[in-house]
Symmetry: C2
Subunit: 406 residues, 2 copies
């Protein structure tokens, strides 16, 4: 039980020592390990970030997130702006206090959500008119407003407002989104600097767009780098429906131009094998609803691949979800009990599998980090991927191990 | 995190020192406090027993139940017989191990459920033909089978199989249920003695029926007492739709004939003011789905009465659900956050309010016990009831503070 104390101390901020400094610690091939110092603590990378869209990771408490090893949690500015409102959260002491999470937080700007969930009425260079997906109310968001929302929420890391086209967008659409995202980024920076002058505990990351066109991706990156030096870069608009080969092509092509001393945050990626491929290609931070959404749907992540926990084979299986797993669920419950919870429609099942799946990814990133630090990432990852999906080959698993939208 | 160790040691059993002995410690008027020694630990009374129908208290983990002070949990033989099956649970080491709860457990026999949930095909003296409420499959349960189910589950306390008529049953129906329940009790005792001879860790309680007819209630009690001396008595078939005045009449009328050295378990009662009235009249143990079901529906128990947490007044309220409350939810979260969780449809809200409401009743029984031990129960309870419901008078609460079926 955590005290309802005010969020931890805020670091100072100067040109020489920006808050949010990312320290690269080791490289092994393109794979990297590092430490990101944020106002509420350190994030060791590679790292997976659980998604708490509405200021809560579905079915999981902050104590449980800390216990499973999560070092940073994502919340969504778009959702919290609509409900309960960012000014309310500011008034109540900020998002850390509101949701009782005292480690680092990142707020996504809502670019992805505005373009995927809302009814878009009109997109102009000035901003976006849209209708709420909740109640149909009309809203106009500008880059400045998004930064104000994120400032009110008070997360350690804020993302710039971007235009996120669909994964299959044509070149013209993707190019338009890059140009608009660049214009918006300049305005985000201006507003961020105005607001953070009196505060200094937040960092801002740009979001690189460009669809599946490498030259556009590089243009987007050049545009961001021309504005200032960044502690990290968000890579948006991938894993949004495009073929997986194209995703990897973009990641590979973009990597050499990303500064080594900045963090690379690949947004929306969260299946085990995709995380490892991205780590191998030099990316550091990830988020996705996959572990919690799959958990609520009765799919357990295991080292042999995803498993439907209602499988008949689990009916009288005394072993834990994943033998050897150190999570709370695996230390308490048998597969037979987990299956029973899902068959009986019991809420505890949603929690048990969400925690297990989050632990699974968090632990996977810890192991990847250890392998990188030991200089044996390639050997380790090949072994790991060789086992992964073996239950599919035996016909015990479920489909869908691949890269998917969260 | 509890180890998956085998359930605790089993007490010996002899005619002189039966397992499950109830020690009356104090009386204050008719109100009583005592300690019930069971195979997995002691239960201090008065006590409220959270309901874990399917071997899990909805939305709450065993660690959380222990932390909020629950000393005994109820599970349901009828539900666990249908799903996942009692033989499966026996094979996996019993219900304690299956659900990872190492304190005392009580299994209800399923009498109430067979007569309220299932499609009854035929009731005879031999047993009941019914169709499962889950899949329509046909089943024939006898008193012997119920005892075998409860023995397989391995709870500390098992309830005899009874016929539970509706709360408005006429005299003839109620009398028929008393006669049949008595015949079934004799068979339950026989089968229980056969099975527990090799085990000795379980106790059996009879269920007193008789509807709203005091003479039938007394007849049911006499019948049970004629069979043997019991460590406790279940009072069934109350709080099942009859007027509350009749419930209290029966409780008052029955009390003088209940042995002082036996525990009195009033089944299915779980609203705060009803618990206190029953404690005042000399009853010791209670169970109900009210705290968890109300919690999932967004109703918080407070000392001023039940509150709908979506109330506009909670929108920006920084205080906990109940100021001064020692539960996990109140130590972490503001009313504003709890309201947000329910408005946004977040699963954490169900857990937060279930835990708060269970703590509220558990703590209420602890306070009642302290008042009884201090010899000031009547003063305390009048003060408490005087405050309770005050939010209704101010128009901030919700309807339904009264005795209701769980």
């Amino acid at each position: 039980m955590s005290a309802r104390a005010k969020a931890g101390s805020q670091s100072g901020r100067s040109a020489d020592q920006p808050v949010g400094r990312f320290e690269l610690e080791a490289r092994d091939g393109a794979a990297r390990s590092g430490t990101w110092q944020l106002a509420h603590g350190a994030v060791r990378t590679p790292a997976f970030m659980p998604v708490g869209t509405h200021g809560t990771v579905k079915a999981v408490s902050p104590e449980e997130l800390a216990a499973l090893g999560a070092e940073i949690v994502l919340a969504n500015a778009y959702h919290l702006y609509l409900r309960p409102g960012h000014e309310l959260i500011r008034k109540l002491g900020g998002l850390h206090r509101f949701m009782d999470w005292q480690r680092p937080l990142l707020t996504d700007s809502g670019g992805f959500q505005v373009f995927s969930l809302a009814n878009i009425n009109r997109v102009t260079d000035e901003g976006v008119w849209f209708q709420s997906h909740i109640d149909g109310s009309r809203h106009f968001v500008t880059p400045e407003l998004v930064i104000e929302i994120e400032h009110a929420l008070g997360a350690d890391v804020t993302m710039a407002f971007d235009q996120c086209p669909p994964g299959q967008a044509d070149r013209e659409t993707a190019a338009g989104a890059v140009a608009r995202t660049q214009g918006w980024l300049e305005r985000c920076v201006r507003r961020f600097d105005e607001l953070s002058g009196s505060d200094g505990s937040q960092v801002l990351l740009p979001v690189i767009q460009g669809g599946t066109y490498l030259d556009l991706r590089l243009e987007s990156l050049r545009g961001a780098r021309a504005l200032r030096s960044w502690v990290g870069y968000g890579i948006g608009g991938l894993s949004v429906g495009e073929p997986k080969e194209l995703t990897y092509e973009i990641l590979t092509g973009l990597e050499p131009d990303l500064p080594q001393d900045s963090l690379r945050y690949l947004m929306g990626v969260g299946y085990p094998s995709d995380l490892l491929e991205a780590v191998r290609q030099g990316y550091d931070l990830f988020d996705c609803v996959a572990p919690t959404r799959n958990g609520r749907n009765g799919t357990a992540f295991t080292s042999a691949g995803p498993v439907n926990v209602k499988l008949a084979a689990w009916r009288d299986d005394e072993s834990p979800i994943e033998p050897g797993c150190g999570c709370w669920a695996c230390s308490c419950y048998s597969r037979a009990y987990v299956r029973h919870l899902f068959v009986a429609g019991e809420l505890l099942g949603l929690r048990v599998l969400s925690i297990h799946n989050l632990y699974f990814l968090t632990d996977l990133m810890r192991r990847a980090r250890a392998a990188i630090l030991a200089g044996r990432f390639d050997v380790w990852v090949e072994e790991w991927l060789g086992r992964y999906g073996s239950n599919q080959k035996r016909g015990n698993g479920i489909a869908g191990t691949g890269l998917r939208t969260g």
